[in-house]
């Protein structure tokens, strides 16, 4: 359109006109430089309005506010002659178009406008851009609330499906975990938080633990807890989950010492229990051992045996295994050598660790003694050995052997000239019947075995004085203790390698076998021996020990002595 623009410039009260001819399809009005009619003012946008020719009239369209046509706010209008348009403080009055023009406008600029408001032609601040604080604040807050709380909460309250859908990663209560589960729990429970956290806003209850760990023994029988009025702690006090890195058991002495530092302080507490405050002879009770005790009762012409257990203080405790065995002699290479290799004996010749690294395989006559201690009884038949175990059978074997020896003419003729010793002459020169001679020889040998140098070398033998040869001697049964301190844990294998000792030397640093001349010696070292290397605190020259390095809170058996008795 062709527009005649007459600008009314009033300075010092004198009116002046400046006419401009604007020719364009669209007359642009705004505060930007490139607008055909540039208006300044804080209310004026860069592109505020447009004028177009429309069938003899002028069409006004605005993009900004603050536009009034004849005093009324509007967004668009068709203007006729003498219509007044106010944009901000600027006034445009439509005049009659002279020839050659589509329209004419008389324009009076806002006299109060400051050139400084020219800034509004541009986007000069971050607030003019798309940036917003409110929108991201809402989006982030709602996202956190929905994904972090509402979804997991809905899943919990729904509660029908305990098995989380592995594909639905976005919708899970696993976001609430405060750390990884222990690997075993992770396998068994996985993402099922409700397996342990059964009631919202309640700490994990023991029931949840016992649902799986039903077989676990409590620290002491529940009745003891009640009788002693002792406090029972939740499982989760010692077993803390969701740690990083994952661990399940708080290995702290404090947890034990809370009660054991002063057991008498517990109402109706166990009176016999001694206080523990550390791991040395002042702060820890001396070791106590479970001793097997034989009980021999007269029965008929002999004795019957039973075994019992009693607890005893280690200091001065003596073992009654009924075995005669001097460790010192066996470990002296000048006195005893192995049959095969002719070397001195080592501990491991008899003591072999079992898979638990704590206990040793049982020692038997057949496996450990018989290589040296053959049970020969007739020098003229060195291959013949007595059976080990049943005394009556032993005597019967001898009877059979000698009966044959005396009754067999060939054997007697062959052997007699070769094997004759003065002390045995009576046997070989027996003049009675073969049976009588055999019985006489047997009797001599039975005395020899049970009372002079056979069985009696290792066994305790009771002479009953009976005429009957079968009941004349009673051999005491042997029972070796498998574990003198059944309530404690000790890793023998790790102790086989020490700073300055390995193998036998390592064994002998703790077990005084070299100087022990009787099997009554326990050879279990006391607490001072442990203290040579271990203490209850961190220091450069000792290896620290916690209570549970040796003790178990959940014992393998509820009452160790009873357990051992059951398994005698």
């Amino acid at each position: 359109m062709e527009l005649l623009l007459r600008e009314v410039q009033s300075s010092a009260g004198v009116g002046a006109f400046v006419d401009r001819e604007l020719s364009a399809d669209k007359i642009t009005i705004g505060c930007a430089n490139d607008q055909l009619l540039q208006l300044l003012g804080t209310d004026i946008r860069a592109e505020h309005a447009t004028l177009t020719a429309a069938a003899g009239a002028v069409r006004l369209k605005t993009t900004g506010d603050h536009v009034e046509v004849n005093g009324e706010r509007t967004k668009s209008a068709t203007l006729g002659v003498s219509d007044t348009v106010k944009i901000g403080g600027h006034v445009l009055v439509v005049a009659t178009a002279p020839a050659g023009f589509d329209a004419a406008i008389e324009f009076t600029p806002d006299p109060d406008v400051d050139p400084a408001s020219f800034e509004h032609a541009f986007q000069t601040g971050l607030t003019d851009t798309w940036l917003s604080k409110r929108v991201p604040a809402w989006v982030l807050s709602v996202a956190v609330l929905v994904l972090g709380m509402l979804v997991p909460l809905a899943l919990i309250l729904d509660g029908d499906d305990d098995t989380p859908d592995p594909d639905a990663n976005l919708f899970t209560d696993s976001y609430w975990t405060s750390g990884p589960l222990h690997a075993a729990h992770n396998v068994a429970i996985g993402d099922d938080c409700g397996a342990c956290h059964q009631v919202p806003f309640q700490k994990v209850r023991d029931d949840a633990c016992l649902a799986c760990h039903a077989e676990l023994e409590d620290h002491i029988p529940a009745s003891h807890f009640a009788a002693a009025n002792m406090p029972t702690e939740r499982c989760a006090v010692c077993h803390v989950e969701h740690n990083e890195p994952s661990f399940l058991i708080v290995e702290a002495d404090g947890l034990c010492l809370d009660c054991h530092a002063d057991p008498s302080a517990l109402a109706n507490g166990p009176g016999h229990m001694k206080p523990v405050t550390g791991f040395d002879i002042e702060n820890h009770p001396g070791f106590e051992v479970a001793l097997l005790t034989p009980d021999a009762k007269p029965a008929g012409t002999g004795l019957t045996f039973s075994w019992g257990l009693r607890e005893a203080v280690l200091d001065g405790a003596r073992e009654t295994s009924n075995l005669k065995f001097p460790h010192d002699l066996h470990l002296d290479p000048d006195s005893v050598q192995t049959v095969q290799e002719g070397r001195g004996m080592t501990c491991s010749d008899c003591h072999s660790l079992t898979a638990d690294d704590e206990h040793f395989a049982p020692i038997t006559m057949e496996a450990h003694c018989q290589d040296c201690h053959e049970l020969t009884f007739d020098e003229s038949a060195p291959q013949r050995q007595l059976p080990h175990g049943e005394p009556i059978e032993v005597i019967q074997v001898m009877e059979g052997h000698f009966a044959r020896a005396f009754a067999d003419p060939n054997r007697r003729a062959k052997e007699r000239p070769r094997r004759r010793r003065p002390d045995r002459s009576s046997a070989s020169e027996c003049s009675g019947s073969a049976f009588a001679c055999a019985m006489q020889r047997t009797e001599t040998e039975v005395t020899n075995q049970f009372a002079v140098r056979g069985c009696i070398t290792c066994h305790e033998v009771e002479q009953t004085g009976a005429d009957d040869i079968y009941t004349r001697y009673q051999v005491y049964p042997i029972r070796l203790s498998r574990d003198f301190i059944p309530t404690a844990i000790f890793d023998h294998r790790s102790h086989l390698t020490q700073k300055d000792a390995q193998g036998d030397e390592a064994c002998l640093t703790c077990h005084g076998a070299v100087t022990s001349d009787t099997s009554a010696d326990l050879l279990i070292p006391g607490i001072q021996n442990c203290n040579q290397c271990h203490s209850d605190r961190n220091s450069a020259d000792t290896v620290p020990l916690d209570c549970i390095n040796c003790h178990q809170y959940h014992p393998m058996m509820a009452e160790p002595i009873n357990y051992l008795e059951r398994n005698l």
């Binding site: 800034e119 807050s141 972090g148 976001y175 609430w176 803390v240 990083e244 702290a252």
Partner: protein, 289 residues
Amino acid sequence: MFENIFRYRGSRYLWWSLGLVVVSVGLYASHNASNPPSGSSWQGYTLGTVGALLIVWLAWLGIRKRSYASNMGSVQGWTSAHIYLGTAVLIIASLHSALEFGWNVHTVAYVLMCLVIFSGFYGLHVYINYPHSLSDNRIGGSRQSLFAELYDLNTRGMTLVGNCSADLQRAISSSIERTGIGGGVIAQLLASDASLVTSEAGKPVSNKDQQYVIDQVAERIPKAEKAQEVIALEEMLSLLCRRQTILRRIRKDIQLEGWLRIWLYVHVPLTLALIVALVVHIIATFVYW
């Protein structure tokens, strides 16, 4: 101004915050083997409670210190407290977390808190460094005075341009009309100049830093045949160069103001998200106690 923030009342809030941190570290150090460090030890709960209260209070402070009409303490005082205690809360919350992190709502709260605090550190950095550059750039004036001068130069330029040849007229008037200032977020922050000019061929070409049009006018001066033309061209050249200087200052001003405020677009929304995450964290903790 920043000296007042840091040394407000003998650095009162610095000492408060240091005290708080020392107590928190002591509390953390009191963990032992039977009570290993974690958010759920009694020390952890204490540190968490203190941290959460501090976060809420700091957020409230952020609002409070902006209302200048308040009678409650000075702006400097609130800002000083906001900075020192905000830094302290980073350490307190880290101790509360025992530095155990994972893909969970608890870590979300921690990460949001770190983002809020570190964006705050950036804000502190610009508040310390930029106001100087800003006033240096305005040479004692204001942005309005720069724009007023620009408008004046534009108006004079459009008047003077009548004395020039037709092609220069087109170049100069189009350079004035198509001068770019500010713009979008990136343009403001980088002070990029999208100014254009209509070339002799009638096409818009870049007039970055007004250099194109200045070169055009400068080239004409030696070629001018009349002394009058030389005077007119020199007047125009000096005007365009002054305009170039003003435009540089305006862009620098917009840029500095932009950096001075952009961090708030991170700091404020994340603070609100943090408070929501904090509530979620606390509820989640106690639902699954």
